[in-house]
């Protein structure tokens, strides 16, 4: 069931953009907190000792490619090519899972090196920020897999392209948040 606003815009899409706006404020506050406490930890481990740039660069590449897969999935669904729609949707979810696996490996490595959420200000702000982002990626992967299953059941087609587009908006937002986190947390030390 689709409804439209008086401006002729899909109300789900408009509501979703408003939600993305609110998410900007959430991540803005978390990034601000990280920046305010940056360099104020009085015990280690400190960021340069523990952050693994090559590893995180691969994760960043992975998430960027998942965004590409997502738009390819949308384009395929819009033209009614459900075979490739299913392939790209599953590829997007798979790359999201790879990103989450990388985050689990990174967090485990940090804990083994003595950095937990309670160790210092860096640990606290780092785990809250990247953990919140990881939770968003998890929701995105579940959402993508749900769409993929619907596509397998034959319940997803060009008529539901807006559903895929809205899923894509969420996924791309998760990607742009990571673009900021990668620069602010990992590269600007």
């Amino acid at each position: 069931m689709t409804a439209h606003t008086s401006m002729g815009l899909d109300n789900r899409k408009m509501a979703f953009w408003a939600f993305i706006g609110s998410e900007c404020l959430l991540f803005g506050s978390l990034i601000s907190t990280y920046l305010v406490y940056k360099g104020k930890s009085i015990v280690g481990p400190y960021p340069p000792e523990i952050l693994n740039i090559p590893f995180t660069s691969v994760s960043t590449f992975d998430l960027l490619m998942s965004s590409l897969m997502m738009v390819l999935a949308l384009a395929a669904v819009q033209r009614g090519d459900m075979k490739w729609g299913k392939i790209w949707l599953f590829s997007t979810a798979l790359l999201g899972l790879v990103f989450l696996g990388g985050q689990v490996i990174e967090f485990t490595d940090f804990v083994h090196k003595g950095l937990t959420i309670g160790t210092n200000l860096f640990g606290c702000t780092f785990f809250v920020l990247t953990g919140t982002h990881g939770a968003h990626v998890t929701v995105g992967v579940l959402w993508l897999l749900t769409l993929w299953v619907r596509a397998l059941q034959g319940k997803l087609g060009p008529a539901n392209a807006m559903t895929v587009e809205i899923t894509g908006l969420y996924w791309h937002f998760v990607d742009v948040v990571w673009i900021v986190i990668f620069t602010v947390v990992y590269l600007i030390q």
Binding site: W17, C24, I53, S67, L68, M70, P158, H172, V176, I179
Partner: protein
């Protein structure tokens, strides 16, 4: 009916070729970011260069993958408004905390 409406409302989205070119640009920008991080000569201008590269990636994804370039301007406002507030809060907090530190340092030195 609703499906038909959904189909007709759809804006002209970029082609697959544009999506692939944007993807390639994103990869190149990421390689540049990581490269700049490892080249000592760039360390003097590391922060501004990284912020510019990051902003370019952000803009590419939002304009082409999230379709804001061709979509209704109201969506741009719904993203841009909160984004301006978030960046404003960030800058204000940094001035507040780093400014307080600077003043304290100056008072201590004096």
């Amino acid at each position: 009916m609703s499906a038909e409406r959904e189909g007709t409302e759809r804006h002209a989205h970029p082609t697959v070729g544009v999506y692939l070119r944007v993807g390639a640009a994103l990869v190149i920008l990421t390689v540049l970011e990581v490269g700049v991080f490892y080249v000592p000569a760039f360390h003097v201008v590391l922060v501004p260069v990284l912020l510019v590269l990051s902003s370019a990636k952000f803009t590419l994804v939002v304009m082409f993958y999230m379709h804001l370039k061709d979509d209704n301007k109201l969506f741009t406002f719904l993203l841009g408004g909160p984004l301006v507030i978030a960046v404003g809060v960030m800058v204000a907090l940094l001035f507040l905390f780093l400014g307080a530190l600077t003043l304290r340092g100056a008072a201590g030195a004096g």
